[in-house]
Symmetry: C2
Subunit: 373 residues, 2 copies
C-alpha cells in the first residue's frame, strides 16, 4: 500500500512494519480490500498515523527513506472489484444523450428525476490506469444499412466519471440510508467507462448497455478517502421533483466540488464540473440498496458521465461532437468524431482541500490500440 | 466438496485425503473455485477417480463411511461468483414478454435474432438454494397512477433458468470461440432469477433491468459437469437468420435436452423444456467475449427464463398469468397473479444420461418472506 505525498509515494507497509504498528498487516496486502473492510475507525487511525509520520521530526529517519519518486513506482489495481455499477447521475449528460438518441421526445426518461438510474457493469473488465484498451469488435446496425455487420467499433468513446469504493459491506436485505454513506464507503477514484457507441446502440433495447461497455473500464490507482474531501462537499443542484424519503439528504449533502479535466493526446478537450451532478454519491448508494441488494468490500459504483452545462464541460465525445456530427479539433490540428487507434485519453481531477490546499486525484489514462488480427 | 450419489453426498475431500490423491487440496476448499480453475484435465481426472471409487470393490471400505445421507448435509454456495450475466435466450419467452410490454409492436426486438441479448446482474446477490428471499421495496409507477410510489413489490415473480459456471478464465481482449466452450466452462446449475416486475417496469428504460433483479438470485448447490451432459446434447431450433461467423456452431451444437419443472408450494405449475432455447450456452459465451471481455473462474452466465411454446411450459408468472390478468390456480385451490409472502418456489431439472439413466440437477428452492418493517 502506498500513499501519494507530493511527487513521491510513501511505502506505508514498510513504515508500518518498521514502527510495528498494529495495522501493519492490512498495509502489506496486494490490494486494499482488507484495509477497506476494516472500516472507518481503521481508516481514521491510518490517516492520523500518516499525519504524525509526515509532521513529527522523530519519525523523519524512518519515513524519508521510504518516500519513493513516483516515476520509479509501478501502480496496480488498488482493490479487487466485487460488483461494479455505473449510474447516470448527470442531468446535462442524460438530457444531451436523450436529445441525440430520442429526438422529438422529452430529453429525460420519465423515471430520471425520481431516482438515480444505473446498471451493472463487468467487474472483470476493470483495469488500472495505463493499461492499453483494445478496440472492441461487435455487431452494429447503422442507419441506412440493410442489416447488421460485425467488426471493430467505428465509434469508440471515453466517459469521464468519478467512482466510489465500498469498504464495509452491508447485510443482504438491509438498505443503507443516505446518512450511513460514510460508514460503508471509503473513498473516490477516477473512472473512464470506455464505450463503443455503435455496439451499444444496436444492443441496448431492451436490456440496456452490455458489450458496448463490457470490454474495458479504467480506474485511477489512487483512491481518495472521503475524509480528505470534507472541504469539497457541496449541495447538489436543486430538485425539480421531491424524491421519496429514502433519497432525501437534507443535512450535509454529498455533492462534491471536483474539477475534472479530460485530455486527448496531451491536450485538454473538456473540463467537466462534478458539482453539477444531480444525484449525490450517498443517494446512489441508498438507491442501489433500497431493495435489499447487499454491498460488499470492493464494490465500485461510478457516477456516470460527468457533463456540465457548457460546450467545453461535456464528459464524452458523443456529446462533445454531437454523435460525430461536429468533430472536435485536437491540439495537433487533427479532427476527431470518435477515438482513433493510438489516441491516449487522460482524465484528472482536483478537489479543494482544507485551508485552500488543492487535493489531486491523480489520473486515469489509457491508450486505444487496434484489436490484434 | 461433495458429490451427489443417489440419496447420499460423498465427502470427496475426506476420501481424497485418505487415498492421498494429488488433487486432494482442490477438494478441501470452501468453494469449488480452485478446482474450477484447474481445468478440463483435472475435471476429467476427478470424474475418473470417482467412478473408480464407486465401482471398484477395493475402495469400498474407504468410500462407504464417507457417504452421508443428504438430509444430514448442509449445502453451501458452491462457488464464489465473479461476474454474473443473465441472457434472454428463449425465443418463446422474448416473444411473450414483447407481446405483454410492447403490444402492437413486433414481439422480438430487431437485434434479437442476430445475437443473444444479455445484461450484467449483481454477483453479490447470488444466494444458495434454501435462502429466504425478502420481498424487495422499490419505486413503481403503475398505469393510471398520478406519479411513482415507493413500497414492497406488488408483482414479485420467479424466473426458471439454467446457469453455466466458468472454470478456466480467458485473457482480457481474447474472444472465446464457440468451439472452445468446453475448455472454459465446467458445468451447469439451476437458477431462479427473482424479479420484481413493477420495480423493473419503471426503471428499465433506458438502462435495462437493475434493482428489479438485483435483490436476489438463487442457485442450486449442485453444478453438473458438462462431461456428464454428453447424452443431453441436441441441436437448437433452426435459425431464422444466419448469425455472424463468431456465433456459428455447425458441428456438435450445445443445445441441451433438459426438462425443468417449476413448483409453487409443492405443486408443479410449469414444465419448461430447455431444448427449445434458441441460443446455446456456447453461443452465449462466444457473444459475451466477442468484444474482448474476459471470463474469470467463477463467472456465472444464465440462459434467461426458459419457456416452451405451450401454456404449461412457461418459465415465469409474468407469462403464466399474462402479467397478472389470468391468475393460475395452485394445488391448494388458491389463485396467484404473482407471488404471495410465504410462497415457496422450487425448480428442478433432469437430463438424459448415458444408457437411459436420468441425471438430476437437484433443485433450487426459495421462500418469499415479507421485508422486515
Amino acid at each position: 500500500m502506498g500513499v501519494a505525498i507530493g511527487d513521491s509515494v510513501l511505502d506505508v507497509a514498510a513504515v508500518a512494519d518498521e514502527l510495528r504498528l498494529p495495522l501493519r498487516d492490512l498495509f502489506s496486502e496486494a490490494v486494499l480490500n482488507r484495509f477497506l473492510a476494516a472500516g472507518p475507525a481503521a481508516w481514521r487511525e491510518a490517516r492520523e498515523r500518516l499525519t504524525d509520520w509526515l509532521t513529527l521530526p522523530a519519525h523523519r529517519a524512518v519515513v524519508e527513506p521510504r518516500l519513493v519518486p513516483r516515476g520509479e513506482v509501478r501502480l496496480h489495481l488498488p482493490f479487487a472489484v466485487a460488483d461494479y455499477v455505473d449510474f447516470y447521475a448527470s442531468r446535462n449528460h442524460a438530457e444531451n444523450v436523450g436529445g441525440i438518441f430520442r429526438p422529438g421526445q422529452p430529453p429525460l426518461p420519465r423515471n430520471w428525476l425520481h431516482m438515480p438510474l444505473g446498471y451493472h457493469g463487468r467487474a472483470g473488465s476493470v483495469v488500472i490506469s495505463g493499461t492499453p484498451v483494445s478496440r472492441p469488435s461487435g455487431q452494429r446496425w447503422e442507419p441506412g444499412e440493410a442489416g447488421p455487420s460485425f467488426g471493430p467499433s467505428l465509434r469508440l468513446d471515453f466517459e469521464a466519471e468519478v467512482g466510489f469504493v465500498a469498504g464495509v459491506g452491508s447485510r443482504h436485505g438491509d438498505p443503507v440510508p443516505v446518512a450511513e454513506f460514510e460508514r460503508h464507503v471509503f473513498g473516490a477514484c477516477l473512472v473512464n467507462d470506455w464505450s463503443a457507441r455503435d455496439i451499444q446502440a444496436f444492443e441496448t433495447v431492451p436490456l440496456g448497455p452490455f458489450l458496448g461497455k463490457a470490454f474495458a473500464t479504467s480506474v485511477s490507482p489512487w483512491v481518495v478517502p472521503l475524509d480528505a474531501l470534507r472541504a469539497a462537499r457541496t449541495a447538489p443542484p436543486p430538485r425539480d421533483v421531491e424524491p421519496p424519503p429514502y433519497l432525501r439528504e437534507d443535512a450535509d449533502p454529498w455533492g462534491l466540488d471536483l474539477s475534472l479535466t479530460v485530455g486527448i493526446n496531451g491536450g485538454p478537450v473538456s473540463r467537466p464540473p462534478f458539482a453539477t451532478m444531480y444525484w449525490t454519491a450517498a443517494q446512489l448508494l441508498a438507491h442501489l440498496t433500497c431493495g435489499g441488494a447487499p454491498v460488499r468490500t470492493g464494490d465500485l459504483f461510478a457516477s456516470g458521465t460527468v457533463s456540465g452545462p457548457a460546450r467545453d464541460q461535456l464528459g464524452c465525445l458523443l456529446e462533445l461532437t454531437r454523435n460525430g456530427a461536429e468533430p472536435i479539433v485536437l491540439a495537433d490540428g487533427s479532427r476527431r468524431a470518435f477515438l482513433a487507434d493510438g489516441d491516449e485519453v487522460a482524465i484528472t481531477a482536483t478537489a479543494p482541500g482544507p485551508g485552500g490546499e488543492v487535493i489531486s486525484f491523480g489520473e486515469v489514462r489509457g491508450q486505444v490500440v487496434p484489436r490484434p488480427p
